[in-house]
């Protein structure tokens, strides 16, 4: 297990370097994608701060918690999808038969496939999240360390969920739109305060669409400076990753390959 984890880390570092080099060839596009995503997130955040200032319906939360929610989710989503850029493309890869080329490598298919692409704009999310938390929340060192621990936890949740919904393509054929909209649903639910949801909706938000694991629980951990809640979120993220991977491999077992002949660049 330690050997395979170190091999995975080596592969991750190799792909990170390779993807950075290839993406930064188009330097202007590279920086503009990052900057525009950070601007986009900032517009959202400032709007919601205005909204919740005008209509204070945050329950026991305050404006600082809204910033924390956006920060931890944006940074986690950014880190996860920047490193595992193909997590958002699983349904497309299945539909277009582009999965075939990944099956030829002597590597575990899923981690290799996920690391194979970098989402440049996601670095904008990551930088926005870290910057907003530092400059708007003004955390203590201890609180910022907790934030740094929660960011990869949120990233794992988002990637695991994206893999799971993308893998619906194995069973449905074309699942591009449905998986994209389920990913949007996760992010949308994750950026509203939990005080507006109740009853069965809350149960769904910790299970089917795990916004509770990638947003509400981390914010609560940050509010209370609680390592226990952070570890609970970590446990939840592992379950989401496990379920997502299980759906992927169950689908892969019945995958009959595409007939498209294509050279991978």
């Amino acid at each position: 297990m330690p050997k395979s984890f170190s091999s995975f880390l080596q592969l991750a570092i190799f792909y990170l370097k390779l993807n950075f080099k290839s993406q930064s060839e188009y330097r202007v596009a590279f920086f503009w994608q990052i900057v525009s995503m950070a601007i986009n997130d900032s517009i959202w955040l400032f709007f919601w701060m205005f909204f919740f200032d005008r209509f204070p319906v945050l329950g026991n939360w305050n404006q600082r918690d809204v910033v924390a929610m956006w920060s931890v989710l944006a940074a986690g989503y950014g880190l996860g999808t920047a490193l595992a850029g193909n997590s958002n493309n699983v349904a497309t890869l299945i539909l277009k038969g582009e999965l075939d080329s990944w099956l030829l490598y002597p590597r575990a298919v899923l981690p290799h496939l996920l690391l194979g692409r970098m989402s440049v704009s996601s670095w904008g999310d990551f930088l926005f999240g870290v910057g907003a938390y530092l400059f708007l929340v003004h955390p203590s060192i201890e609180n910022f360390l907790l934030f740094a621990l929660l960011v990869p936890i949120v990233g794992v949740t988002v990637v695991g969920f994206s893999v799971g919904v993308g893998s619906l393509g194995f069973f449905l054929g074309s699942a591009e739109t449905i998986s994209e909209n389920l990913r949007f649903a996760l992010i949308t639910f994750g950026t509203y305060p939990p005080s507006i949801f109740s009853g069965a909706a809350k149960i769904l938000l910790y299970t089917v669409v795990p916004a509770g694991i990638c947003s509400y629980l981390p914010v609560e951990a940050l509010r209370q400076n609680s390592l226990e809640l952070a570890l609970l979120a970590a446990g939840g993220s592992m379950i989401v990753l496990f379920v997502g991977s299980a759906i992927f491999y169950a689908g892969l077992a019945k995958y009959e390959s595409g007939s498209l002949i294509k050279l991978q660049s």
Binding site: M37, T177, I178, S179
Partner: protein
């Protein structure tokens, strides 16, 4: 008449191809359901906290039906700028230049055909969801007529904005960032997520004169709270935006076409 017929056929073909892919339709409707559910919860919390039947000049029923109208409009919009960007970057645009049709008009008819079908499906499903969530909206003939009459220009202005951004691919390495910011401005300052009446009195008149409000807020406001004066004012603003953007498209597309070079035999 023959000229119009070919663009009408493009629109019909595009409309028909949009009802074929059922999973696409289901995916979009799923997200529409999620959005309407979240916003109904949010606004119910706002009205309950305010202890008033009217917030931002609308009742809770009008507010949710306003959202049905805005979401039906915006979720029906094809990704114009991404399609134009791809045509320019891949060189596919050359295929259109040698056909006996105008590329911008081809894209407009394709866009309107696709959007009309999606819009009416979204509106139907959104209306059912809103009916279940908050009950019926007191509709008048005026509200339906004004709304439907304001839609074509709203869709045209939205298309022209996206087309202009896509043409940027002739000069810039990447246009996705510009499109992201445009879409965010439309969501927030165009009134997609909330009516502009929630903004302070000194900001609102400026926002109402921006083209974003001609695309979303104007038609949706007519749907839930129609008035002849408002209808004429919205038509005037839409016409102004459409004329300005059409001139810009004509000028920029003319300059861009001169940058197309065809190599090879």
């Amino acid at each position: 008449m023959r000229v119009l017929r070919k663009y009408l056929l493009v629109a019909l073909l595009s409309a028909r191809s949009n009802v074929v892919y059922l999973s696409e339709v289901v995916g979009r409707l799923l997200f529409l359901g999620v959005i309407l559910y979240i916003f109904s919860r949010l606004w119910i919390a706002v009205y309950s906290h305010a202890g008033s039947h009217q917030v931002a000049d609308l009742s809770i029923v009008q507010m949710i039906w306003y959202l049905v109208a805005t979401e039906a409009m915006m979720l029906s919009g094809p990704r114009v700028s991404a399609a134009v960007d791809l045509d320019v970057r891949s060189g596919t645009i050359v295929n259109y230049l040698q056909r006996p049709l105008s590329y911008p008009l081809y894209c407009l008819s394709h866009n309107l055909g696709e959007r009309t079908v999606r819009f009416f499906i979204n509106l139907l499903v959104g209306s059912i969801i809103a009916y279940v969530l908050v009950g019926p909206l007191a509709l008048s003939w005026n509200s339906v007529a004004f709304f439907l009459l304001a839609l074509p220009l709203a869709f045209a202005v939205d298309f022209l904005s996206g087309f202009l951004i896509g043409l940027g691919a002739f000069w810039f390495e990447d246009t996705s960032g510009m499109n992201l910011i445009y879409s965010r401005m439309t969501m927030i300052f165009g009134g997609m997520l909330f009516p502009l009446s929630i903004f302070p009195d000194n900001v609102r008149p400026v926002l109402e004169w921006l083209p974003f409000s001609a695309v979303v807020y104007g038609p949706a406001k007519l749907f839930v709270s129609p008035s002849v004066g408002e209808f004429l004012s919205i038509l005037a603003r839409q016409s102004l935006a459409a004329v300005v953007f059409a001139i810009l498209v004509y000028w920029i597309y003319g300059r861009a076409s001169k940058r197309v070079f065809v190599n090879g035999g």
